[in-house]
């Protein structure tokens, strides 16, 4: 299986009373809490951590896009990815991703992803999220009733721009271009692997199946809560006649590993509480702009009592304040010794049937030293127990195919 190291880049210095004094970590978060000098240190630590993860042997490093968000300091993940493309050599660069409806014209995404693929020598995974309501509708003002229409049109335009050998005219509902002629173009043919971060919508599952994309369920609530969604996904794949290739699916999991379970509980309590109580303090006003969720999905949720209950539980979690004991017992964060973590993650991968496992080994206000420790211990003592899973049985058709030596460039060493 593939094991990927994911960074959200949370602002690590939200005050202790953040939840009491501020309505939301997102959209209208108090800008006076942002200290650019501290952010200078954070960004550099975070980028060190991503580079360290790549160096430690993780198969890929992941970045994502958020706007006006106290737990996600990457309005442009492509900037971070560009730096990673130069400072890493083997890891896949997984941009999870660019919210397509936010780019005008959307070929901007095709261009920047092509640049990243060229700079990295063909190591890019192109993630195409619709984007959360907070990012797209509130922070970027996109009409929620048009968001998915814009997303799908942008997707079609980007895919055509990567593959059409000739200039073409685009006459869309939302974008009209007389001359589409992408330059540069991606190394990977016919295009970089496409991964779709999504919630639990049946429409997204069908779309991924139809276009042969990876579906990545990026939940902050761990494998127990993710089970119902992934069961739904695989049931839909079965219904559509698709195989159970685990590499069709990605899943996000928080992990804290230490020499012993006691040490892990001790080390990861504070960053976990910071994440679940401060970073996820999102005002419920921003949860459901009208039209963001399609009527078909709402209808299917109303009809399916199971999903309805699941969605209620998700809402409660999203805006509640779990204790560390709950965070651990419900599996939001897997903590323990290397062997315990390996055993649990193996169970997660097998029970969810997920071959692209994305891990958050930095979360909340976890500092650089602890992040390095977590990452290194995982790479040395957990990863070897997991890496072979699924590899004999299934082909990972959704993994980058980079150039090999001697075609690969080597960035020059910097003299200081």
């Amino acid at each position: 299986m593939k094991i990927l190291w994911f960074h959200l880049m949370p602002y690590t210095d939200l005050p202790d009373d953040f939840k009491q004094k501020h309505p939301s970590v997102w959209v209208d978060i108090d800008s006076r809490l942002f200290d650019p000098a501290k952010a200078h240190r954070m960004y550099n630590d975070f980028m060190d951590e991503l580079e360290f993860a790549a160096e430690s042997g993780f198969d890929g490093v992941c970045v994502n896009e958020h706007h006006q968000n106290g737990y996600g300091l990457m309005p442009s993940p492509n900037l971070i990815a560009a730096s990673l493309a130069r400072r890493t050599t083997h890891a896949a660069i997984v941009v999870m991703g660019n919210s397509l409806a936010l780019y005008n014209p959307p070929i901007r995404v095709a261009e920047e992803f092509a640049m990243l693929d060229c700079i990295s020598g063909g190591r890019l995974v192109a993630g195409f999220p619709v984007g959360t309501p907070m990012d797209t509708c509130y922070a970027y003002g996109i009409n929620p009733s048009q968001l998915r229409e814009r997303y799908h049109e942008a997707h079609d335009l980007i895919m055509k721009s990567w593959q059409s050998p000739d200039p073409f005219v685009w006459n869309g509902r939302f974008t009209q271009l007389r001359y589409v002629n992408l330059w540069p173009r991606p190394i990977q043919k016919p295009h970089p692997p496409i991964w779709i971060p999504g919630g639990g919508s049946v429409e997204t599952w069908r779309w991924c199946a139809e276009l042969d994309y990876v579906y990545a369920y990026l939940s902050y609530f761990g494998y127990q809560a993710g089970q119902a969604t992934m069961n739904g996904f695989w049931e839909e794949m079965r219904r559509l006649g698709k195989d159970r290739n685990p590499f069709r699916a990605g899943f996000l999991q928080f992990v804290g590993v230490a020499e012993s379970r006691e040490e892990a509980l001790d080390l990861y309590r504070e960053p976990a509480e910071y994440f679940y109580n401060r970073c996820l303090h999102v005002d419920a006003r921003f949860a459901a702009p009208p039209g963001y969720t399609s009527e078909a999905t709402i209808r299917s949720k109303v009809v399916s009592q199971v999903l309805q209950a699941a969605s209620r539980a998700t809402d409660a979690r999203a805006f509640g304040a779990p204790s560390f004991e709950e965070i651990v017992s419900k599996g939001y964060v897997i903590v323990g010794s290397p062997d315990e973590v390996a055993q649990q993650l193996r169970e997660v991968a097998v029970s969810l049937n997920v071959g692209q496992l994305m891990l958050l080994l930095q979360f909340g206000n976890m500092g650089r030293e602890l992040t390095f420790y977590n990452t290194q211990l995982f790479a040395k003592r957990v990863m070897p127990q997991l890496g072979a899973l699924f590899e004999d049985e299934w082909e990972n058709r959704w993994w980058p195919k980079p150039l090999v030596a001697p075609a690969l460039a080597r960035p020059r060493e910097i003299a200081h």
Partner: protein, 258 residues
């Protein structure tokens, strides 16, 4: 009740009362049932209520509407189809925005014009409220000074399916968002001066959505001096908070010779 078909979508048209036709384009949420406000109006006029796309009774054609021109075009189709060409027209909230656009761009379409707390202008120093970033519990008191009137209006109409009614309400929110997102300023200010229909601006004095001070902003941008009537103590859904006072003010304006 009858229906007008536009581009494959069926639009409900309610009609009640005698005499000269009076069109009405409903406000936020649309209309799930015939209200006391409409009943009062229909005692003097033949009230004709066509449903806009996405609002209750208006089908799901809002998904085909990408910009203001699309909305204006379908509204013209609807008014013509409902036999309202040249008739007096009342528009409320988003319906007020469209009524004002029609009166400005197609001068023969509207006789007298009544705008009830219309959207369409936006002054950052006194912003129109964001109706679309609200907890459900905040909504009744946002729209009404008598939240219980709002709750009553929201209830599933007798005989309708509860689940379908919830979906209908969500669709109405989406349709309003499709027209108004993010702030509802679609350039109407540049066209208001073209309105020649005698106009009444009607506002609830306690409107928490489009503040009552917007009446002056509309009046200042118009080439005429419109009438302004404030319904004391009423909120944005003045038709629910003060149905009789609101209807009487409108009927009195319509009775007065131009």
């Amino acid at each position: 009740m009858r229906h007008v078909r536009i581009d494959g979508e069926s639009h409900r048209v309610w009609e009640r009362g005698q005499g000269e036709g009076l069109g009405l384009l409903a406000g936020m949420g649309g209309l799930g049932h015939w209200t006391p406000f409409l009943e009062r109006l229909s005692q003097e006029r033949r009230v004709v209520v066509p449903s806009l796309p996405g609002f209750p009774g208006g089908g799901a054609g809002h998904h085909k509407l990408d910009d203001l021109v699309d909305w204006i075009s379908v509204t013209l189709d609807l008014l013509e189809g409902a036999g309202l060409a040249g008739a007096d027209l009342v528009g409320h909230g988003p319906g007020g925005l469209l009524a004002a656009e029609i009166a400005a761009l197609s001068r023969g379409m509207v006789g007298k014009l009544v705008l009830i707390a219309p959207f369409g202008l936006f002054d950052p120093s006194e912003p129109v409220a964001d109706c679309f970033a609200r907890r459900a519990s905040e909504i009744p008191s946002l729209f009404c000074t008598h939240p219980e009137a709002f709750e009553r209006d929201l209830a599933c109409p007798p005989g309708d399916d509860e689940v379908e009614w919830q979906l209908t309400r969500l669709r109405a929110s989406e349709a309003a968002a499709r027209l108004l997102w993010p702030i509802g300023d679609l350039g109407l200010r540049k066209r208001l001066h073209r309105i020649v229909s005698p106009t009444l601006l009607l506002w609830g004095s306690e409107d928490r959505v489009v503040p009552a001070s917007y009446a002056k902003r509309f009046a200042d941008a118009m080439g005429q001096r419109p009438g302004i009537h404030s319904v004391e103590g009423a909120g944005h859904r003045v038709d629910l908070d003060a149905p009789e006072a609101a209807a009487d003010a409108i009927l009195s304006f319509l009775r007065t010779p131009a």
